[in-house]
Structure formats: C-alpha cells, structure tokens
Symmetry: C4
Subunit: 208 residues, 4 copies
C-alpha cells in the first residue's frame, strides 16, 4: 500500500486544523485599537498552535517521504495522531479565552504530550512495516528530540497548575527545538540520491 | 474514467467532516476542571464519530485502491455516501448536548445506518462498472460485516428510544468490528502483486 | 500549464462549500422529535444545495478531464465560478431559516444563475486556450442544457417574489436535468480511448 | 525534496481561508431586501478578500510551477505566508462589521502588507535553494510589482487612520495590478518548453 492518499488526507486535516483556529479568534466588538488588547492572549495561543501544527506537518511530510510501505495499522496510528491534533483548536481557544489560566494551560500540555506520543507510535508502526533496513529506520535511529519532548510536556503539565507561565515557556522551548525539520531525514534523502529506487520513485511519481 | 479526483474530493470532504466536529465542542466558560465535566458526553460522541469517519475513510481508501474504472453513477453513489457522512457532525452535536437522550441517539443510528447502506450502494455501483472479473469483485464477494452493520443499526434505533445506552453499546460494537481495514482487500492487493497491471499502475501513478 | 493544481484547489473549495453548510444547520435545542420539525426547511435547502454543489463538482470534473491546456484567464474564470458557489451556504442558510420566503428564495436563484453563467464563462475560456480541434470543443458543441439552466433561473427569480414554491420547483427541476454528468463528455472520453495522447496521459499521470 | 506536498497543503489552507470567510457573513435576521443592506460592507470586504486570496493562490501556483527544489527553510517560509493569509478572514470580518472604520481598515492593510513581505521572503528562500541559473531566478529577476505592493500598503496604513476610503481605494488598486498572474513566469514556462527537463517532468508527473 502506497502513502499517497494517507498524505493527502493528513494534509487535508492539518490544513483545516491550522485554519479553523482563526474562527475561534473572536472578532472585536468595537472599532478602536483598545478592543484588540483583550485578544492578545487568544492571539498568542493562536500563533503558538499555528507553529505547532506547522511543525507536525513538516515532520510528517519528512517522515512520509522516506516511507516506502504502509498497512492498516499505520492508517490507524495516523488517525490517532490526527485525533490529538484536532483537539488543538479546542485547547487553544480555551487557553486564549482564559489568559493562560492554570487548568487550560495544563490541558494544552496534555494535548501536546498525547500528540507527541501519537507521533512516536506512528513512527514505530511505520518502522514495523517498512523493515529494519529501510531508509526510515536509518533516519530515526537516534531520536533524542522525540523522547525529550514528551518528557518536557510531562514536566510542564503539573507546573502549569502552579506557575502557568513556566509551562508556557516550556511549550515555546519545545517548539523552538522542533522548528527546523528533521536534519537526519534530509541527510538520508540527500545521501540516497538517485539510487534508493523506491523512495525516489515515490518522489518522482508524486512530485516530479 | 480514473479514480484520482474522486478520491481527492472524498478525502477533502472526509477531512472536513472529521475536523469540523471539534468546532461543535463548546469551549468551557470557566477555568476550572469542573467546567470540563459537562462536556464529557459531547467529548465521547466526538471520539465515537471521529472513529466512525476514520473507518469510512480507511474502507473507502482500501476499496478505491482495487477499483480500476468508474463512471457517472459511481460519482453520484459516492456523493450520496458523503451526504450521510456530512450529517455526522450534526447528530454528534445533538447527541452530545443531550447526554445521549433517546431521540438524538436514535437519529445518530439512522445516520450511521444510511451511511452503511450508501457504502454498500457505492460498492455495488463500482462492481457494475468494473466487471465480475475485477480485483474488487474478488475482494468483496463475502461481505458478512457489510450486511451485519445495517442489521445491527436497525436493531439499535428502536432500542435507543427505550434504552439509549444499549444503542450506544451497539454503535461502539460495530465500530470495533470495523476498526481493522478490510483484510480481504489487503490480501487481494498482496496477491495481485506486480501482475494486475491496471491496479498497480494506479498505485505507482499516484503514490509511487 | 497543466490542470492538476487547478483541480486540486477547486476540489478543496467545493469540498469545503459542500461540508460547511452543515454547520449552518442549527442543532435543535431540545431532545424531542418535535424539535426537528422547524429544521425541515433548513434541511430541505441543505439537501438541494448539496445536490447542486455535487452537480458542479461532477461537471467540473468531467470538463477538466478533457481539458489539455489552461492559462491565467482560465484560473480567474475558475475562481469566479468558485466565488458564486461559495455564496451557496449563505443563501442556503437564509432560505432555510425563513421557510423559503420570497426574497431569500429569489436570492438563492440569483446565486444559482450567476454560478451557471460563471460555468459557461469558464467553459468558453478553456475553449479559447485549448483550441477548436480540442476534445473539449467537440464535447461542448451542443450545450442546450447549459443555456436552458440560466433561462430557467431567470424565469424563477421574479416568480420567487410572488410564488416562492414555483421557483423552488424550478430549482429542483434544473437539478434533476443536471443530475447525470455530461454524457457528451463521457462519449468523447470513450471515443478518444488510447489515441488522444494528451488527454489520456493526463489521466494516467493523475489517476492511473 | 519535491514540491508536491507543499502545494497540496498550501492549496488546502488557501481553499479553507477563501471559503470560511463566508461563514463570517452573518445570515440576515429578516426576510426583506432591506435586511441585506447592512451586510453590504461585509459583502464588499468579502469580495475584496476573495480576490486577494485568489491572487495569492494564482501567484503561488505560478511560482511553484517553475520551482524545482525546496528545503526545510522553504517549508517554513511557506507556513509564514500561510499564517498571514490565515488572518485575512479575521480582518475581513472586523472591517466588514465596522463599515471600513479607521483602525480595522488599517489592520486589514497590515495583514496584506505582512503577506506581501512573506511572499517575497518565500520567493527569496526558493531562489536560495534552486540556484541562480534556475527557471525561477530568470522569472523573478525584475519584480517591480512585488516591491511596489508593500510600498503602497505602507502608504495606505497611516492613511486608513484619517481617510479609510483612500486606503480602501489603494487596496483595490493593488488587487487590480495583480489580477493577472505573472506574465514573466508564463513566458519562462513557454520558452522552456520540453527542454527544461526538471520543471517539465514536474508538470507531467503531477498534471500530465
């Protein structure tokens, strides 16, 4: 089973998740600049969530580029990841409307952590199909960042209950760590060049 | 007529259906954990509907992978399926806001049943074009699950009016039955390997 | 310039238009069957609009299948069509909430008529690029239905102001006329078979 | 790294941005023609924003057609552009609900200017990967319009605070300047013909 339609469906869901968050930004009632001020927390949580969904899209894109084969278990692991990402607009709105109050900020962290875990599960389920000698197995062998992120969220969630701004700082830090797509995978793609036939033919088939 | 754009349009509609349901989850008014409690029924119906749309996407994906040819009737059978699936966010919100009350729970079942029937109709309309010796004809020849599902919904709908929780349990049961994509079709794809030229060229054309 | 991304973008917009209409269906306040009754006009206008967007998607799909070449003017003619189709959720909600009152029903007709005109403009702009000997020129040479539809809408709009139900009946009639995708184009595709290289290579490139 | 999935994701986001604006058009409360009158500013801002998103989609489409290679930096430059475009529904609704009041009209200009700058950044980041001898380098060498637009927005933003209608006229003017897709790029595509192998194979791979 190829990856084309899995990518298309994921692109669709991620495009909607990243865009509908703007529907939760309440249009100010008045005409003055002052009416924008109360929107600031909502806007900041929108920016952070936009970056997070962007990171997931980038990493998903990179990972699927070196994926040659998938099966039904991968489809479900992917839907599981999309489920947690679909909750981001909900926690973004809740956090933003309550000026990063403790419980909403912790809930934001729970959704981020579950998404990070779901991403790891998806990666492992692809590895299980694609085999130990696959390009993706080489690409993800030392995934420090992937294990660090859930650990940082796990730290941030209880902290959110007492010092929400520390939790917020941790969420921003994790985003900064991930802002660059996975160099390991870019290196594998570059190294593979024209001789890893399956991966490259995927590319030329879909993208020329 | 190939299947590419039918799949792209269906992916788009299903991605939107699965994602806009989160817009119906009302953002809690307060900041406390207690404000989440009244959302629990809405959240559970969201999870169930997410899984159902995921099942439909998976099965649709599998079925179209072994489809070689479609016509205008298939396009309309597909739109008919999408119509019923587009009503899932509506019944999900109605059921969730009313704590699985009898009438909303029955309405949820009606939409699920109509979607199941529409899926059968789509399958038959593809078979009619693609011929009795097509890969899809081999794949769907013993479709016990497909006939069992509407029967279970038919049982659940009247039960919902007196014991909504039994209907809910039946909906969950059907979802569990379908959670794995259709092994029959995966077996056909695997068996076909590189020698069913049309199906395989579809794959390599779209997905490498 | 090929048609791939024009189709992808149009699929996206049409998928959203057809799906967000369900967000305008107000979730009933109560739990009883009686709470569904006031939704009936909204539901009927939803069904009619779903069918109309489905018709446009089908015809767009058919037309672009026999299109070999496009240019900037075609991109704008396509956006112009999408603009009028994007107003369908608005007039659907207005008509549905006002039980097919005269002015909303007439407005619904105006949007349908403008979409029909925009479709004709798109067709002509493709013809202008693709040349008089193109498959599409052969396909659309006797477009009775395409000229009949705007004429019927033009009749329905003033009628809506005095007898909205007659206008509604005309809208349903036009939908029934269009329910089948364009046989002319299916015939051209079939006749072309494997010897219209450009059209067929489009097919195999995108859809296998 | 090919451009296929970047285009698919961008198409998805742009399709959603252009379509969800209609959800912000409030459905009139009454049935009369007079109830449409207060919607006129909202409708005009909708039309203008629809055209702007259409322009961005057209130009993005043209630019990516002559792009052969991208990297992680391009992915982020693209997400940055999508971020500013995702704010268009927000400023459209704010401007429309306040009859083009000074502050909302200026905010509309700020979002347009940031999007124009983000587009320039995306163009430069593609140039940096694709090399000085690439088709895109030839296509964008004399980008007067691209530098003129931000300059006009910069002029319009302070003017909006004292004479909003002048700012509005400037926004309309810039849209008119851009209404035609980039001739330079069409010329490059035409000149390239079948001999710029990478660019053309992209085309035939995706669009036939």
């Amino acid at each position: 089973m190829g990856t084309g339609r899995l990518e298309a469906f994921s692109d669709g869901v991620l495009a909607i998740v990243i865009t509908i968050m703007v529907l939760e930004l309440p249009v100010p009632r008045g005409q003055g600049l002052a009416t924008l001020a109360p929107l600031l927390p909502a806007f900041l949580s929108y920016v952070l969530s936009f970056i997070y969904v962007g990171i997931y899209w980038n990493n998903h894109h990179h990972m699927l580029q070196v994926t040659r084969r998938i099966n039904g278990a991968v489809l479900w692991a992917n839907l599981h990841l999309l489920f947690w990402l679909s909750l981001i607009p909900f926690v973004t709105a809740w956090t933003g409307e309550n000026q990063f109050a403790p419980i909403p900020t912790a809930a934001y962290g729970v959704v981020l952590m579950m998404a990070a875990v779901a991403y790891l599960v998806l990666e492992r389920s692809i590895l299980a199909v694609d085999g130990p000698d696959s390009p993706i197995a080489a690409a993800v062998s030392h995934s420090l960042k992937e294990l660090l992120s859930p650990a940082l969220y796990l730290l941030a969630i209880p902290l959110a209950l007492v010092r929400p701004w520390i939790a917020g700082a941790i969420y921003v830090t994790v985003a900064l760590i991930w802002l660059r797509p996975d160099r390991r995978i870019e290196r594998i793609i570059a190294a593979a060049g024209d001789d890893t036939a399956p991966s490259v033919s995927t590319e030329s088939g879909r993208e020329g």
